[in-house]
């Protein structure tokens, strides 16, 4: 279980952009520390959902600035702000999915179910495509270097000590 949490923290660290201040909030009530690491001193406490700016990163730790304090917190304890719907669809949008009056262009279950197959758009999609050799040139232009990498095996899925209780409950 411990290794699973540490891995989550590890890749959360990779998820964060190296530069720039990301906006987010505390995923739970958590101590704010004077430096990264478990030996650090507590300087303040973030309340659940308290907004923060992420002003730096050190491994799996984020340096955050909130309204009343600055300090370090584990990246895994933060959530990023996500720009999805600015406002929920109006009742008319739900009743008339895909109508332009809301400006929302959807792909809801309703729109999927009522839509008729579109052969002209299928033709357009079939015309889209890039030759393999051109994709390789495009990759080299961005300094991408292909590497050999085995697929992750299911047995490598098993965390040390086995899966915790409730892991399969979704």
């Amino acid at each position: 279980m411990g290794s699973r949490i540490s891995l989550l923290i590890l890749f959360a660290a990779f998820c964060m952009p190296a530069q720039g201040a990301d906006a987010g909030y505390a995923g739970k009530a958590v101590d704010l520390l004077d430096r990264p690491g478990s030996q650090a001193k507590v300087v303040a406490r973030l309340a659940k959902r308290q907004p923060v700016q992420i002003i730096g990163r050190n491994g799996s730790w984020a340096n955050t600035k909130s309204a009343n304090a600055t300090g370090w917190v584990r990246l895994a304890d933060l959530r990023l702000h996500v720009a999805t719907s600015k406002s929920p669809a109006s009742p008319s949008a739900r009743a008339n999915p895909g109508k332009k009056d809301t400006g929302i262009r959807g792909f809801s279950e309703e729109e999927l179910l009522v839509g008729a197959p579109n052969q002209a758009e299928g033709e357009k999609l079939r015309r889209l495509g890039v030759a393999a050799k051109d994709s390789a040139i495009f990759a080299r232009a961005a300094n991408l270097k292909p590497r050999e990498q085995d697929y992750i095996q299911v047995r490598e899925y098993m965390p040390e000590g086995g899966f915790p209780e409730g892991f399969f409950d979704e």
């Binding site: 699973r4 959530r79 262009r105 197959p117 085995d150 979704e170």
Partner: protein, 287 residues
């Protein structure tokens, strides 16, 4: 195959199939043979589709998905997504499929794969991504659905192969295609509204991060996207279909985490600059 040999093989096959069935299932099997016009169609259901048939089914599935929302009119972006997608697909076990990637004009956050090499990403999903490694991770996930034939296998359960052979009698290729698409439409909608088995989604996650890594990208692109989605409200209006058809992002992250240890230590580019160059119109249009 001679008619006599064909009958022998079919009887053997029927015995094989019926051997493990209840009486009720056996009756249904024989009824299907009679109602579907004969043995040929029934054998077609049982066998593995050829690659040409897989692509033909994919054509129909893609047209149904594009019936819900058309492609986005942004040729530069479409070409960019195809260049990245084709490069990722080249790292898979099926590089020679006719891969086609498209961004559709939907604000919802989602991505879809269809048999034969089709991948559609919504504009809403593109706007959530921050760099090319994240795009490669999403496309890698969808490419894995195609290479593992997840949708094809699910559609076969809906007797789609029977539809293929039923369409074969049509007089012209155009007519045959139109009939196939029409008949595929119902099973396609049902499948894409219900979603794949969760095990298929977890497998596509495991393979997607590796395909992105093989392509030379930071393999944490897909986990980064899942982190972004885990931060959103699953009841968000633009996430409803994704939430209904996939395990929750946090669950997918939990499942992926132990296996990511095999990718430790890879330092590879994320390419935010090139990604932002090709996607800036998306953000301008939404202001």
């Amino acid at each position: 195959m001679s008619p006599a040999r064909c009958v022998l093989v079919s009887l053997a096959l029927a015995a094989l199939v019926l051997g493990g069935c209840s009486q009720q299932q056996a009756d249904a099997f024989m009824r299907n043979i009679n109602e579907s016009g004969g043995l040929k169609q029934t054998l077609t259901i049982l066998r593995e589709p050829t690659q040409a048939e897989e692509i033909e089914i994919g054509d129909g599935v893609a047209e149904t998905l594009l019936g819900a929302r058309p492609l986005l009119d942004d040729p530069d972006l479409q070409r960019y997504v195809n260049a990245v997608g084709m490069w990722v697909a080249q790292q898979s076990e099926r590089p020679d499929l006719p891969w086609h990637f498209g961004v559709n004009d939907s604000d919802h956050i989602n991505a879809f794969a269809a048999p034969g090499g089709y991948v559609i990403v919504t504009k809403g999903m593109m706007k959530q991504l921050r760099n090319e490694a994240e795009l490669a991770g999403v496309l890698g996930h969808e490419v894995a659905h195609v290479t593992q034939k997840h949708h094809l296998k699910a559609l076969r359960k809906a007797a789609v192969m029977n539809l293929l052979s039923a369409g074969a009698a049509a007089a012209t290729a155009e007519r045959r295609h139109a009939e196939l698409v029409q008949k595929l439409s119902g099973p396609t909608k049902e499948l894409y509204a219900r979603g794949l088995d969760k095990a298929d989604e977890f497998e596509a996650d495991r393979m997607g991060v590796v395909l992105a890594a093989r392509a030379g990208y930071d393999p944490y692109g897909l986990p980064a996207v899942l982190t972004t989605l885990a931060s959103a409200d699953p009841k968000d209006n633009f996430l409803t279909l994704l939430t209904k058809t996939h395990p929750l992002p946090q669950v997918r992250l939990d499942r992926l985490a132990p296996g990511l240890a095999t990718l430790d230590g890879i330092k590879a580019p994320q390419n935010p600059t090139r990604f932002q160059q090709y996607t800036k119109k998306l953000h301008v249009a939404s202001q």
